[in-house]
């Protein structure tokens, strides 16, 4: 038990790091989701120009590792004269990065509905906005929920990368304790356990949503 003394001393610090991790994930997932929905709609209904722009963006994002994008933005932002606190810079990158993947999830959800649902809604005199609001989105979002939660799990884990640009969160906190205690194994075991608890809870929720989709209403 004595081997885990460093963890017992540092656990409060780790939990505060976890708090920061969660905060970052939650703050980033909101714009990422909105962006994802907007891009999905643009890709389905947008003009030829808008669709081309969206495809270019998705192509760009998918081809670059998040770590590179974070580092690049970290050095680029000051040069452009944009004075953004590191936290918001990171949130911005996470939102743009995960927004791209979320758009695919939402697009798939919308397109997987049978055309007949659109026909029925149109035949009742609904405008496109109303159709989306009361017929398409309620069904598409339900279909998109399980892969959406899966992306959220990914996002939580991806926040561990932001320590590279000096942002303090769970991984960074772990490294700091390790530097003081020289007990990397114990400390990172604790950090891993915390990540696991967050992600496993999310994944369970995703499974629950998936069952609900499969078994209907």
């Amino acid at each position: 038990m004595r081997e885990f003394a460093p963890l017992l001393h540092g656990y409060w610090y780790l939990l505060r790091g976890a708090e920061m991790t969660l905060l970052m994930a939650v703050v980033a997932v909101i714009p990422a989701t909105l962006l994802g929905i907007a891009i999905a709609l643009l890709q389905i209904f947008g003009s030829r120009f808008a669709r081309a722009a969206v495809v270019g963006y998705l192509f760009f994002i998918r081809g670059i590792p998040l770590l590179v994008l974070l580092t690049f933005t970290y050095y680029l932002l000051p040069l452009t004269g944009i004075d953004l606190p590191p936290f918001w810079g990171v949130v911005l990158v996470l939102a743009f990065y995960y927004g791209a993947f979320m758009s695919e999830v939402f697009r798939a959800g919308i397109l997987s509905l049978p055309r007949a649902q659109w026909d029925a809604a149109r035949s009742l005199g609904m405008t496109r906005r109303l159709m989306l609001q009361i017929v398409i989105f309620p069904q598409a979002l339900r279909l998109a929920a399980p892969p959406f939660v899966n992306l959220c799990v990914n996002l939580v884990k991806a926040t561990s990368l932001v320590s590279i640009v000096g942002l303090w969160e769970l991984t960074m906190a772990s490294r700091e304790i390790v530097e003081r205690t020289l007990a990397p194994f114990q400390i990172f075991l604790g950090a891993a356990a915390i990540y696991f608890c967050i992600c496993y809870t999310l994944a369970l929720y995703g499974k629950y949503l998936e069952r609900r989709v499969l078994h209907g209403h």
Binding site: A120, S123, G125, H217
Partner: protein, 275 residues
């Protein structure tokens, strides 16, 4: 248009105010001409049944009426009002109405589909009341009361709070009829509404349609149920190859067809279904 169809149109058209006017609709899917200059006038309260072989353009014609399918030429009016395209008074050119105008015009045309197409995430009553409330701005309580009346009419009073997945095909299709009626349409279109049903469930849907016809609803019905067609129709329209080949009163078309094409179709049909 040949002689047979023009005389029949005159017969049917004289005594009734026109409710639906289809004028010279042409449509193609790529190189395939699905509809070729089709015109059809349906009087108020008239029940027109469209029959013909698969791929003859019946369903497409029906879907063109409320612009679920677009078409390259022609116009449609419902009760005198254009739906989809308007003729410019000066140039005589066809102008597409705005999406908002088209949506508003669709209110007056109810359609029931082969595959029911109920909204699976809404209860039966929500399915019926959603459009009246959200499109026409009817108060929810009133829309739901009317929804319950319509459910009673199609014999499903006890299913108001069920979800579509828990209903049989025949029940779902009757809900679909009620949903279309809830918008108080001027005309109802039926697109092979019994084709996806188990044989023992067909009767309940046809009964609901018969009831509707008796109440004086203007109806255009695409169906393969020939005996039903004979019973319910004021006029039979036979389509093949994207044109109306023959039309007339049910007795005439079924027992004394003027064209060889219809004779052949009916003979094949009878041969297949003779028990």
């Amino acid at each position: 248009m040949n002689d047979a169809s023009s005389t029949a149109t005159e017969q049917a058209g004289t005594q009734r105010r026109p409710m639906l006017e289809i004028t010279g609709i042409s449509k193609r899917f790529g190189t395939l001409e699905v509809l070729r200059d089709v015109s059809l006038s349906v009087g108020a309260g008239e029940v027109v049944v469209v029959i013909g072989p698969s791929g003859s353009g019946k369903t497409t014609l029906l879907r063109c009426i409320n612009l679920l399918e677009d078409y390259e030429q022609g116009t449609v009016t419902v009760d005198g009002d254009p739906i989809g395209y308007q003729l410019d008074a000066r140039s005589g050119k066809r102008v597409r109405m705005s999406e908002r105008e088209i949506a508003a015009a669709r209110e007056h045309v109810g359609i029931v589909f082969q595959s029911y197409n109920l909204f699976p995430h809404m209860s039966v009553l929500q399915n019926i009341a959603a459009a009246p409330v959200r499109v026409k701005g009817v108060a929810r309580a009133r829309a739901e009361a009317r929804g319950r009346d319509l459910l009673a009419m199609v014999g499903l009073s006890d299913k108001a709070d069920e979800y579509p997945a828990r209903l049989s095909g025949g029940q779902q299709q009757r809900v679909a009829i009620a949903r279309a009626l809830a918008m108080d349409p001027k005309i109802m279109l039926f697109d092979e509404v019994t084709s996806a049903l188990d044989p023992e469930l067909v009767g309940e849907v046809l009964a609901a349609m018969q009831q509707l016809a008796r109440n004086g609803m203007t109806m255009v019905v695409v169906t393969h149920e020939m005996s039903f067609a004979r019973d319910i129709a004021n006029r039979i329209v036979f389509m093949d190859g994207g044109v109306i080949v023959e039309q007339g009163q049910p007795e005439q078309v079924f027992f004394n067809p003027k064209t060889e094409r219809v004779r052949l179709f009916l003979k094949r049909y009878n041969d297949r279904y003779r028990i």
